[in-house]
Amino acid sequence: MSEHNQSAQHRECQELLPWFITGRLSEPQAARIELHLTDCDECKAEMDEQVELRAHMRREDPVAYAPQGSLQKLAARIDNDGSRTAVASPSERLANRQSAGQARAVRLLIAAAIVETIALALLVSAGKVTWFSKDTAAHYVTLTSSPPVTANGPVIRAVFDPGTSLAELSQAIRSIDAQIVAGPSDADVYTLTLKHGAETDTMNVAIEKLRSDQHVRFAEPAVSDFKGQH
C-alpha cells in the first residue's frame, strides 16, 4: 500500500472512529476502517479510548424526570393560544369559529361578570345571572364585536327570564343550534343567528322552539343591519 493511501485512510479513520464505534457508518466506510485498524496501532489505541469515553457518557443516571407537570404547562400554553390553528383552511377556520363562537360567547359572559363588579361575582357564584349594568353591557359589546360576525340578515332577538342561570341560557341557545352575536343590550336583548341557514322556515321553527323554553320571555325574528350596534 502506498504512503499516500495509508495516510488518507489514516486520516479518514481518525475522523470517523466515533461513528465506527457507534455503528453508524455505511458498510463500505466501516469495512475500510476495520481493515485500517488491523494495521495501525495509533488508531487502535484511539479507538479503545473513545470506547471508554462513550461508556462513561452513557452511564445512566438513576434520576427520572417526571413529564406530567411540564406537559400541563405546555397544554395550558396551547389552550391559551385559543382556537387559532396553524393549518386550518379559511373555511375550516370559519367553521371552527362558528362552533367555538357559542362556547366562547358563554365564556365571555362569565369573564365579563367576574371582571366587572363584586356584586356580579357574588351572583355568578350563586349560580344566577342578573341583568348587566350599563357599563358591563358596554364592555360586553366590545368583546362580542371582535371578531366581527356576519349578522347582516335575519336574526332572532331574545330576552331571558331574570332568574336564568348561565347553564340554562346556553342550553336554550344550543337547543336551536344558534349563537349569540350581540347582547345583552341595555334592554337585556340577545341577538342570535342560526348556525345552519337563515331561511324563513328554519327561523320560524327555531323561534317556536325558543319560545317553548321556560326561561325565554321573548323571542322574535328581526333583520339586522349590524354595525356594532344592536
Partner: protein, 191 residues
C-alpha cells in the same frame, strides 16, 4: 461487536412517530400528548447532561414541542421524525444554553457533583469528564453528545445542526483533542 443501534434506525418507531405527527396536524391532543411523553424522556435525559437545572431543560423541551405543535404540517417525511425534532430542539437548546452560560448558570463547578455508587476511580474520572465537557464550546459538546449519547450518524447530526458534514467531523475532532488535554488517562478505569 459494535453494530447498528436498532433503537435509532428502527423503521417501526419512526412509523409510529410519523403517525402521531399526522394526527397532531389534525389537532389531535391525545396524539400530541403521546409524542410529548416520548420526546420529554429523550430530551430530558439529554438536556440534563448539559445543564444541572431542570427548569432550563423544561423550557427547551416545551419550546421544542410547541414548535412541533405549530409546525407539524411542515414535516414532509424527508428525514426521520427524530432528526426533525432534534433539529428543532438543537436550535432552542443553543439559545437557552448560551443565555444560561452567559449568566453563569451552567458551570458544573458551582454544583456539587452527584456521585453514584461506583468504584472510586470511575467516579473521579466521571467528575473530571463532566468538568472537561462543560468547558467545551457548545457546538463541540453537542456533536459529542449527539454521537455518543444519542447515537446519531454524521449525516443526521449535520441535518440537526444545519451545518456541513465536514463541520460535524471537525467539531468532533476538536472536542476529542480538548478532552485528551483535560482528562487524566482514561484507560485503566475498569467498569
Amino acid at each position: 461487536m459494535l453494530r447498528t443501534d436498532p433503537k435509532i434506525t428502527s423503521g417501526s418507531s419512526n412509523d409510529r412517530e410519523f403517525a402521531l405527527l399526522r394526527r397532531v396536524v389534525d389537532r389531535d391532543r391525545g396524539a400530541f400528548d403521546e409524542l410529548y411523553l416520548i420526546y420529554h424522556r429523550r430530551l430530558a435525559r439529554f438536556l440534563m447532561r448539559l445543564t444541572p437545572r431542570y427548569e432550563i431543560a423544561e423550557e427547551i423541551i416545551n419550546d421544542t414541542l410547541w414548535t412541533v405543535w405549530e409546525k407539524a404540517s411542515a414535516f414532509r417525511g424527508a428525514s426521520l421524525v427524530s432528526t426533525w425534532i432534534m433539529g428543532i430542539a438543537y436550535r432552542h437548546a443553543m439559545r437557552a444554553l448560551r443565555r444560561a452560560r452567559a449568566q453563569g448558570a451552567v458551570s458544573f463547578e458551582d454544583e456539587a457533583p452527584t456521585l453514584v455508587d461506583v468504584a472510586q476511580q470511575t467516579a473521579e474520572t466521571r467528575e473530571w469528564l463532566e468538568c472537561a465537557m462543560a468547558e467545551l464550546p457548545l457546538e463541540q459538546r453537542m456533536v459529542l453528545e449527539f454521537t455518543y449519547f444519542l447515537g446519531h450518524s454524521c449525516e443526521e447530526i449535520s441535518t440537526i445542526m444545519d451545518c456541513p458534514v465536514n463541520t460535524v467531523k471537525t467539531r468532533m475532532f476538536h472536542a476529542r483533542q480538548k478532552l485528551k488535554v483535560s482528562l487524566p488517562r482514561l484507560g485503566g478505569s475498569a467498569e
